[in-house]
């Protein structure tokens, strides 16, 4: 009888399963990504130019930015936490950027990562105590956080209370070694296209990052955390550390999205992001499916367009939207993509 020996590590081959690893870029995937990039960067601008529906730029830019914030929420879901606090970080990121631009005179492009980092830092402070909570309890605190962020924006001197911060200048030029990468938005004829391109580029970067996270060791560890925190600890995972890390990354996304939003609307108020936004971020993830990296992007697109279509219903917009949400929960309590679960099976 020959039972194999336990190897003293150091392998020879990667094994045949390497090709099918989800982390690798197969040709089919590569083609999909290329098609997607062509769609958002070429086809959409061409289509809009042809149809003359310039207002679509605003809608699509919003979708892109909201889907970045939703990506963050999705990552918190990925470690098994229900996050209804992303609105707080979007608001905080927006204010960080607005204050740095208007009071320090910093370039918008510098404030963008700084807003993300500030939110990540904040998330570490807040996350350390609250990430020990689970389920409904965590959800509750994060929801409270959104409201507290709004109240703080109303109260703190630096945020200028209910009047908010307005007339924020458009993003200036971004140049490296004298080479202009992004021109000064104020000199552009129509900054709408520019904002769209920047927002979509940010979205692509964010989802690339998210996809890498999920398919690298960090993502595997997050999954282990989601499925069983005790077992994760027993294999040596520093669960507290990992939770805070994931939450900080998630909040980074929220902060960046918020900052970018502010530069488009050139203003921010305490009510710019509130509880309803936090709930919608969660809904985006849920609608798009929690098992798929690109789920939140799909969810945001569907939800935002749905909301926009309902605009014509005037005062009944909210009523119809909320009724649809209730019906959705009744009919598909496990999300839109659960429709495919039956035939899919397994992974």
């Amino acid at each position: 009888m020959t039972t194999p020996k336990i190897p003293n590590s150091v392998p020879t081959s990667f094994g045949n399963s390497a090709a099918s690893r989800p982390g690798s870029l197969g040709p089919a995937r590569l083609a999909g990504v290329a098609a997607f990039l062509a769609l958002v960067f070429v086809a959409v601008p061409l289509g809009i130019a042809a149809s003359g529906r310039w207002d679509f730029y605003y809608t699509l830019t919003s979708v892109a930015l909201l889907s970045i914030a939703s990506a963050g929420v999705w990552l918190t879901f990925y470690i098994g936490r229900i996050n209804i606090g992303q609105g707080a970080y979007a608001l905080a990121g927006g204010y960080v950027s607005a204050v740095l631009i208007t009071q320090v005179g910093m370039s918008f492009w510098l404030t963008l990562p700084l807003a993300g980092l500030a939110c990540a830092g904040l998330a570490v402070l807040i996350g350390l105590p609250i990430l020990r909570l689970r389920g409904v309890y965590f959800a509750m605190v994060t929801l409270v956080l959104t409201e507290v962020a709004r109240l703080s924006a109303l109260a703190l001197p630096v945020t200028n209370g209910a009047k908010g911060i307005t007339s924020i200048p458009l993003p200036g030029e971004l140049s490296v070694l004298g080479l202009t990468i992004i021109p000064d938005f104020a000199t552009l004829e129509d900054p709408k296209l520019a904002f769209y391109l920047v927002a979509v580029a940010l979205m692509c970067l964010s989802y690339l990052a998210l996809w890498r996270i999920v398919n690298s060791r960090l993502g595997h560890l997050c999954r282990s955390l989601q499925q069983n925190e005790e077992l994760a600890a027993s294999i040596g995972v520093n669960t507290a550390h990992l939770r805070v890390l994931a939450y900080a990354i998630s909040s980074f996304f929220g902060g960046v999205a918020g900052a970018m939003f502010v530069s488009i609307s050139q203003s921010i108020y305490p009510s710019s992001f509130q509880v309803a936004d936090s709930v919608n971020f969660m809904l985006n993830c849920f609608l798009g499916g929690l098992g798929y990296v690109f789920g939140p992007m799909l969810g945001t697109l569907l939800l935002y367009f749905g909301w926009d279509l309902l605009f014509t219903t005037g005062q009944y917009q909210m009523l119809i939207y909320s009724s649809a949400m209730i019906v959705l929960m009744l009919v598909l309590p496990n999300g839109l993509l659960s429709l495919f679960d039956r035939k899919g099976g397994g992974k």
Partner: protein
């Protein structure tokens, strides 16, 4: 030679209930030591104390002379003291292979950022984990089900997978809580052989809690018996089988009579 593990007067109280009461014993390197006792005697609690999943009310645990009680569970695991769970605890929505790969966490040399960026060190790590996981899976005879989703596995395989996860961390001491539960006689005997080889080939010290007496008697170098949280006996299988107190404790309970 100092023992690899020293349990010194460890006590755990839950409110009025003393789950573990002043238990002390030493474990020598490379030993297979079983902890037995009736249901509710405090065996699982003892393992949780050793792996630092619960903090002792008093007393301490030393690993290679260093105090490990009070550390976080992942720090204890990092030192090489790793427990498996009494309940079949695995990552349910991962495949068998993914379960074992993710459990290689402690062996990674690349940082999380390195993995994110896909540096060559990270890729080396990944390749190593994959190969090592395959080795462990084959060792435990689960090669045929390596790509099966863990939630679809039958009880016996779940136990083996729990052990595979423990092994993947490259432990110095492995604490197995009822590793043979839910297995039939043949499976149990095969696992007994595997645990033995684990010790013989890799020098892993094994502590185990088990109710299957024939298996315990066969596998153990030494046995510690606890009852109502207290250690009532310690010795070789032969000594334990003829110990009055032990027989009394077992006859007093509804547990199966001790013996081969």
């Amino acid at each position: 030679m100092t023992p690899i593990l020293q349990v010194k007067g460890i006590t755990k109280r839950y409110g009025g209930l003393t789950a573990v009461n002043e238990v002390s014993f030493d474990v020598a390197e490379g030993e297979i030591l079983s902890v037995i006792g009736p249901n509710g005697a405090g065996k699982s609690t003892l393992f949780k104390l050793i792996s630092s999943f619960v903090t002792p009310t008093s007393g301490e645990v030393l690993f290679k002379g260093d105090r490990i009680s009070g550390l976080a569970p992942h720090q204890v695991a990092r030192k090489g003291v790793v427990r498996t769970f009494q309940e079949t605890t695995i990552f349910r929505s991962m495949t068998v292979r993914e379960n074992v790969i993710v459990a290689h966490h402690l062996r990674s040399r690349a940082s999380l950022l390195g993995f994110f960026l896909g540096t060559s060190l990270a890729r080396q790590d990944e390749a190593e984990f994959g190969a090592s996981a395959d080795g462990i899976i084959d060792f435990l005879g689960m090669g045929a089900i390596r790509d099966e989703l863990a939630s679809n596995l039958p009880q016996g395989h779940l136990r083996a997978l729990g052990m595979a996860i423990g092994l993947a961390t490259n432990p110095r001491i492995l604490l197995l809580d009822e590793p043979f539960a839910g297995m039939n006689h043949d499976e149990t005997m095969r696992m007994v052989g595997l645990v033995r080889r684990l010790r013989d080939e890799r020098g892993v010290t094994v502590l185990l809690v088990e109710h299957d007496m024939p298996a315990v008697m066969k596998i153990s170098d030494r046995i510690v018996v606890i009852n109502f949280g207290q250690k009532i006996a310690e010795g070789t299988p032969a000594e334990i089988q003829s110990n009055e107190k032990v027989i009394e404790a077992y006859l007093g309970s509804e547990d199966a009579a001790i013996g081969m």
